[in-house]
């Protein structure tokens, strides 16, 4: 095989951390990969088009529905080749699941790894319809030597010089969990192309990289899986030569709907003094309850933006009724009597396993798993200018 050694797709340059300004590559990724508008946290279920999406490569063209097959092979006694109508004949599973990208918050780290520059919008909760993966796997009669289940998507491209299909693996124990599903519906509709039409894996509790879209093949094996997206990209690493730990479950996090009105360009916020309703959502991929969300409101010095008091005073937010679904976020709210000035608002979730959000981001070389407490700066004015009446 002969390839051109000047081709930077196949022979890429080394990636380097970046500082305060963003590159054209990062902006192209930000234009492609869409996130939730935080004000849409008001909805239990995120509307289609507002649920975050990260697609590594192009959205693939898939065969017509009648032609499409899911193949299950490898260490199984009964290899399967299933059409969508075969899958639909299994008992239905319908669950609200909060999914988050492992790179959420990457753009808030310094120095910043060049990749999709998510601020905090890479999250969403959808109602997924489909069937339990475990039932389908049981039908294939896995060999008892099988330890690993590899999921292959139809999406293909190059990353760091590796040409590959998007593929991820789960241990057979994780794959057999009752909540792990093959989904062909989202929010009562067929999957749109960008969400993995016609079929995707949904792994509740795990960061989104596990939920392989455009699923076309499942392979059982007794070997560890070392595909690029398993062994190279989604690893927590402190430094380049750190062998790393695999990214798996979603770390506990809460987000607040930014109160008041935005400035179009800067998204800075302004609001009128008085009773202000703060609300948001909290979740944890551990499949446990959110036990509390705490709020802190810090006065800032107007001209400099420095905190007037270093210590944060945390106040418990009121929690909404527990979510019906174990892997869905939970609402919270808090009333703030805002007086004129400049403030920084914080929210911090703690789950019933005792995990809580750090105030400052833990370092990760590729900006993964940053669940640091959100900060929102607001300007409170005694009164705002009246709306232009034309």
């Amino acid at each position: 095989m002969k390839t051109n050694p000047d081709n930077p797709v196949l022979y890429p340059q080394e990636r380097k951390h970046a500082g305060d300004y963003f590159s054209a590559s990062e902006v192209r990724l930000a234009n492609r990969n869409a996130g939730i508008h935080l004000e849409m946290l008001e909805h239990d279920i995120t509307p289609i088009g507002m649920h975050y999406l990260l697609s590594h490569f192009d959205i693939p063209s898939v065969p017509a529905k009648e032609m499409w097959r899911l193949d299950i092979g490898g260490l199984v006694a009964q290899p399967q080749s299933l059409g969508l109508s075969d899958l639909e004949s299994y008992p239905a599973l319908d669950q609200a699941v909060t999914l988050e990208c492992a790179g959420n918050g990457r753009a808030l780290l310094r120095p910043r790894w060049p990749n999709m520059p998510w601020c905090l919008e890479a999250v969403g909760t959808a109602r997924w319809g489909g069937t339990s993966l475990g039932q389908i796997l049981a039908q294939a009669a896995p060999d008892e030597r099988a330890t690993t289940v590899v999921f292959s998507g139809a999406d293909t491209g190059v990353d760091a010089g590796h040409l590959h299909r998007y593929e991820r693996a789960l241990s057979i124990e994780d794959a057999m969990q009752e909540e792990v599903m093959l989904a062909w519906r989202i929010n009562e509709q067929p999957l749109p192309p960008q969400h993995g039409f016609p079929l995707r894996l949904v792994v509740p509790g795990w960061y989104g990289m596990a939920s392989v879209k455009w699923l076309q093949k499942i392979t059982l094996t007794d070997q560890p899986f070392n595909g690029h997206q398993q062994a190279n990209t989604y690893m927590y690493r402190q430094s380049e030569d750190d062998p790393g730990l695999p990214v798996s479950r979603i770390r506990v996090r809460s987000l607040m709907i930014p109160p008041g009105l935005p400035d179009y360009l800067t998204r800075q916020r302004v609001l009128e003094a008085g009773e202000t309703h703060l609300m948001g959502r909290a979740w944890s991929g551990a499949g446990v309850d959110i036990s509390r969300v705490d709020i802190a409101i810090q006065a800032l010095d107007s001209p400099t933006g420095e905190a007037l008091h270093a210590d944060l005073e945390w106040l418990p937010a009121e929690m909404s009724d527990a979510a019906n679904d174990r892997f869905s976020w939970r609402g919270w709210h808090h009333t703030w009597h805002a007086s004129p000035g400049r403030y920084r608002l914080y929210c911090r979730a703690t789950d019933s396993a005792g995990d809580t959000q750090p105030l400052d981001a833990r370092w990760d070389r590729a900006g993964l798993g940053n669940n640091a407490v959100q900060r929102i700066d607001v300007w409170v004015e005694e009164q705002l200018p009246r709306l232009d009446e034309q």
Copy 2:
């Protein structure tokens, strides 16, 4: 009224043109405002969630459907206050409309105006359902002095220090065009929140700023409308002191689906030598046919990326059947026999009014109306590495 003079939302700093690197503000806007993935140009109708969206402010919370009203007032004999069921009793209108943001292509201009840094993804074609605006206006019996129709959305915020609702106006002649519609359905579904639920204006042929989302009030007047989004933002200007010309209809444009496989980070493209199917869409807001799309394929020097020949040789693409709807894009395709090397691909549309895309962007201070010919750089290899088979 007392506001804090240090508040940068109400008293913003002067905007300045930027160069090669993007600011955090631009990236926040890119994360919020989503565009089409160009490979989705394969669909006649853009799936929800892939149609571009630009929202100036937060998506507003709107009253429950039963409480919601559209008010029509000003210079009318019969002011109206209409519920959704009132609107639904008018004859239905259903049309496929290509909408594009006036800022599409802004990020490709140098120097670059700080605003949403669209590359080329701010476009989409939806099937809008609703009713003709003209019929509703006729019901209100406009006074013959009325010259201008002002459309007020529920979305509110600050831009360049102006606190305002999003409002735009049309001349009464433009507003009465049969294709101008009040839409409450998109692609056979109720509008999702981000597309203007429950009601939006759709002005076919015009850049998207005219199609006011979250419409709540229509006002007829005999005065020119000088709201911020009419008189300040959407104006073609050569320089700061240029009084400017209003942005209106969508300039002719074509886009190509980037062929081959992407690199995840840089979106550079690689493909195997051989027959390559190039395809895309073309449109013009003049409400006239696309008469032709031409393709040029330029060989580049591999190490430097310089063109080996300065002259472009244009070849006509094959046009798909004309779109059924006057304001919907039209497909085109072209077969390229690609041999190994590095190439720049161009596509250029011409409409039946004789307008064609410029090869290089016309200067506009705010990066508006940039319909310059698209360029896609690709690396063609004799053979690509085989896909990892795990």
